[in-house]
Symmetry: C2
Subunit: 249 residues, 2 copies
DNA sequence: GCAGGTTGTTTGTGATCACATGCAAAACGT
DNA sequence: ACGTTTTGCATGTGATCACAAACAACCTGC
């Protein structure tokens, strides 16, 4: 009942966490907890949360303009998928990944996303290649104007378009879970890409180009190899970021 | 306000779904939705639900002697992990797997559990081999007395002990999700094993023996191959079960 | 000064209720 | 009789509230 002005000690976010809260009204046939899930998942995958950041039901409910019940269910679901982790305190936070965990995650991703790329190479059609090419052009433009955030977003779209083409729902759902588990790193990667323009970006472009060529020639093995290389680049980036972290201490 | 006696039209379950509802009282530091999750997961993995069976919050809450709130959260979590699926009606049911889905699941399981076996072969200690040997002896006894249910349970314990030894939490969590997604088949497999004694059991034993020998000689490749064979046997069983299904029409 | 207890606040949890939706059986009109 | 409408029930959803656990700040007593 005392201090009222000093209570607003919210951390300054890297970016508006929920862009427009698109079309604030609930469309028919939609449920609030489903909306909360989508919005939170989007925010997590975009790296809008910092590793170790704890979220509370009441604050999220207030920010999303719903009661805490839908938030509770969305958070439970995202925790099951690895986007958050349950603390012994019973609250939820963004996981702080260890070096070992990141290595295990990337190793699995190489294996599974490589296979998805191989499957996609067998199924892909010309219009789908065109679509991927358009996304890749968008990524190049992001590099030109140093838009690390959109770059990351389009890169994700590029990858998931491939997994959609692979047409293996089981495989895709596992891959999606691995992306959610890696999400705590996204924010740092975006910052790194923004601060070191051109260092890592060209190699990522190169791997996507190799993948597109493999798709055009329906070469499953080459597509798999290109995907492996692309994720190896991610491994290098996270390794470099870790050395930055160490240097910062 | 009318019929009271005729309301109890509950289906006769294959077996008591929640064994003893072990120690009905809640231990300190435990939460109700966590307990509901564990109990439901156990029941699903044991095959106590039929494919396509829909569950309602109120009935589950009544059976578990809690309010529907913890059940809601447990169900949301299990749905995220693939043990249940969300219907457009917004209710939850046990998934009805298609042939294609089963093939994709088993293919992934071969890949991932094979890798887990290879990892375990590098880490395993003598006492852990002894532990696996004890589980295997238990499985043999189950075959002698035609106890298909315990056999299935011990088989799961055997496999998950290997994944624990592999010491790769990320890999293990993905594998656990795949087991949950395959759970709808477990009931049918148990019935099949019980009705056809000795047909498939010996081959499963054989693969476990091969795996144990590979562990003793720390042969990662051999362990991986044995795991592949073991899951290939599962593939054959489900294929045989499907032909039974078709014949029954 | 400092260990240990106390109090107040924050936050997750579980129960209950009002409401909307979906579904199915009954009622109705043709 | 048959297709359509209505009614009633079953069920998921979301909001609100009381409570307990966890945490932090404060206070007390040595």
């Amino acid at each position: 009942m005392k201090m009222e002005a000093a209570k607003k000690s919210r951390k300054p976010l890297l970016a508006p966490r929920w862009p427009i809260l698109a079309s604030n009204r609930r469309r028919p046939g939609e449920v609030a907890h489903g909306r909360a899930y989508e919005i939170l998942k989007e925010a997590v995958l975009a790296g809008h949360f910092r590793p170790g950041e704890v979220v509370t039901l009441r604050s999220l409910a207030k920010e999303l303009s719903v009661s805490e019940m839908p938030v509770r269910e969305a958070l439970r679901r995202l925790t099951a998928e690895g986007a958050f982790e349950a603390l012994p305190n019973r609250s939820a936070r963004i996981p702080i990944l260890t070096r070992l965990q990141v290595e295990q995650l990337l190793s699995l991703r190489q294996q599974l996303e490589g296979q998805a790329a191989a499957l996609a190479a067998r199924n892909i059609t010309l219009v789908q290649i065109e679509h991927l090419r358009a996304l890749q052009n968008g990524i190049e433009q992001c590099i030109s104007r140093s838009d690390a955030r959109t770059h990351t977003s389009l890169n994700m779209a590029f990858h998931f378009e491939i997994y959609r083409i692979a047409d293996n729902p089981v495989l895709t759902s596992v891959i999606q879970m691995l992306w959610l588990k890696m999400a705590p790193l996204v924010g740092s990667i975006v910052e790194l890409l923004a601060s070191k323009p051109g260092t890592f970006k060209r190699v990522a472009l190169e791997h996507h180009e190799r993948m597109l060529r493999a798709f055009q020639s329906r070469d499953a093995a080459a597509a798999e190899a290109a995907m492996h290389e692309d994720l190896l680049a991610t491994t290098k980036i996270t390794g470099y970021w870790e050395s930055l972290q160490l240097r910062a201490r």
